[in-house]
Every structure is written in structure tokens, then in C-alpha cells.
């Protein structure tokens, strides 16, 4: 398996085949005398922004914390990865995970406040 070709930037699919963003980062854990292992896959705006600028990533994380959206990027342990290739299937309940934190925030704080939005 090639980590960049087969995993990085690939579509993440949750338990119910729900699209939950892309694999924005791969965290490798270095171990003494043993080969490095893939510890986590990361997803989220701040992870993507970190590739451009560390300051931008920190600003996004600070904003997310301040607005109570989420505490840092979403990390998925490798043990939860089911498939790799075209898409990366993971054993995660996408709807209840922090992958949908921004969607939940916008629904509760913005969309529901629009007159006529509530049923």
C-alpha cells in the first residue's frame, strides 16, 4: 500500500457509507527499534490549513474552540480503517462524529434562526 497514493486526500466513508470529508492528514508514530506505524488519520479544516500555514491552522482551531464547534481536528485511529483505495472506509458513526461539527453548528446557530426555517 502507498500511503500518499492510496490514503491521503481520499474520500472518507463512515459506517453507513456516509461521506465525512477527506483524509487531510496522516499521523505516523515513531517507535524505538520498530518500524513507524500509522497512528491516526486526520480530517478537518485546520488540518488542511496546516499544510498552507501553521498560523492559519491555529486561527481556525481557535475559532472552532471559541464557537464551541470542536476541540481540535478529528482523529481516526488506524484500527478503525476498514478499506483503502478509491475511498477510505472507516468504522465511525459519521453523523454523530465531529466530522459534521460545522454542519451541526450552522444548522443550530444560523439556519434554524432564519424565520420559517423551523417546522
Amino acid at each position: 500500500m502507498h500511503l500518499v497514493r492510496d490514503v491521503l486526500d481520499k474520500q472518507l466513508l463512515g459506517n453507513d457509507e456516509e461521506r465525512m470529508g477527506k483524509v487531510d492528514g496522516i499521523v505516523l508514530s515513531l517507535r524505538d527499534g520498530r518500524p513507524p506505524r500509522v497512528a491516526f488519520l486526520e480530517t478537518g479544516a485546520s488540518v488542511l490549513a496546516r499544510r498552507v500555514s501553521r498560523r492559519l491552522a491555529e486561527a481556525i482551531e481557535a475559532l472552532e474552540r471559541r464557537w464551541g464547534i470542536r476541540q481540535g481536528p478529528m482523529r481516526i485511529p488506524w484500527e478503525r480503517v476498514r478499506t483503502t483505495g478509491t475511498d477510505v472506509g472507516v468504522d465511525v458513526d459519521a453523523r454523530n462524529s465531529s466530522a459534521f461539527a460545522w454542519e451541526r453548528f450552522l444548522r443550530e446557530r444560523v439556519v434554524e434562526k432564519i424565520p420559517g426555517a423551523k417546522e
Binding site: M1, V4, L8, L28, P35, E42
Partner: protein, 131 residues
């Protein structure tokens, strides 16, 4: 135990023990080992980039530089901004692109680089045993 973010070290120059740049880190080979996924090789150089794009055919468009596959323990990550080889460049396995076939007139070996490495080691052991 420390962590490195693969997306941040991708494209970084890898330096040899003598401080000279060997190439850029372009791809990482890994294999599943039960629940774990462990790194087997760090791929360095333009041929590694073509392998990442899954487009080795592009190698015929231009002369590519030397490319290497470094085993997991042949890179020192104590400074992730400046990964260094823990061995000499000559000890790395060379990645051969399509141009190799044109130069030598022979087809490249079908076996994977890691298998070739094993075979070379076995040959070395045999030679030692013979002496």
C-alpha cells in the same frame, strides 16, 4: 515515542550523512500487520513521485534523477524538517524507471524492490558461506 505528520514532511529534501541532498521524500510504502499499518519504505526522488501518481509511463518524457527506496530504519527523523539518512546513499535500493530498460536493453526484474533486497542478502550469505 514521537509523531510526524506525513502530509507536512512530504516533498521535504532528504539529506545524506555527508549533508548533501539525496532527493525529496515523495511516497511512503506501508503494509498492514494485523490491526496495525507499519511503514516499510520511504521512497525518495522523481521515480517515487511517478509511483505516487501511478504513472511510470511519464518517465519516458524526461530524464529523471536518481531515486531510492530507503528502508524504515534508514531515515533519521530526529529533526522532521530535515530528515537524514542513517546509512550511505550507496546502501539504498535504487528505484529504476522505464529509461533503465532503454539504456540496458533488458527488462527490469519483475520482483519488488524489497524481494530483490532479500535475494541480494541471501546471495551475500551464500558467498560468505562458500569462502
Amino acid at each position: 515515542m514521537s509523531e510526524i505528520h506525513l502530509e507536512l514532511v512530504l516533498g521535504r529534501r532528504v539529506f545524506g550523512r555527508d549533508g548533501r541532498a539525496v532527493g525529496r521524500l515523495e511516497e511512503v510504502r506501508a503494509e498492514r500487520d494485523g490491526d496495525e499499518c507499519v511503514v516499510t519504505d520511504w521512497l525518495i526522488g522523481p521515480a517515487a513521485l511517478l509511483e505516487r501518481w501511478a504513472a511510470p509511463i511519464l518517465g519516458i518524457l524526461g530524464r529523471s534523477g536518481r531515486s531510492y527506496a530507503a528502508a524504515w530504519d534508514q531515515l533519521d527523523w530526529s529533526d522532521p524538517r530535515r530528515p537524514r539518512l542513517t546509512c550511505g546513499v550507496e546502501e539504498l535500493r535504487t528505484m529504476r524507471g522505464p529509461r533503465w530498460k532503454q539504456k540496458t536493453g533488458q527488462a527490469p526484474p519483475k520482483e519488488q524492490p524489497e524481494r530483490r533486497h532479500e535475494r541480494e542478502e541471501q546471495q551475500r550469505k551464500k558467498e560468505k558461506g562458500g569462502k
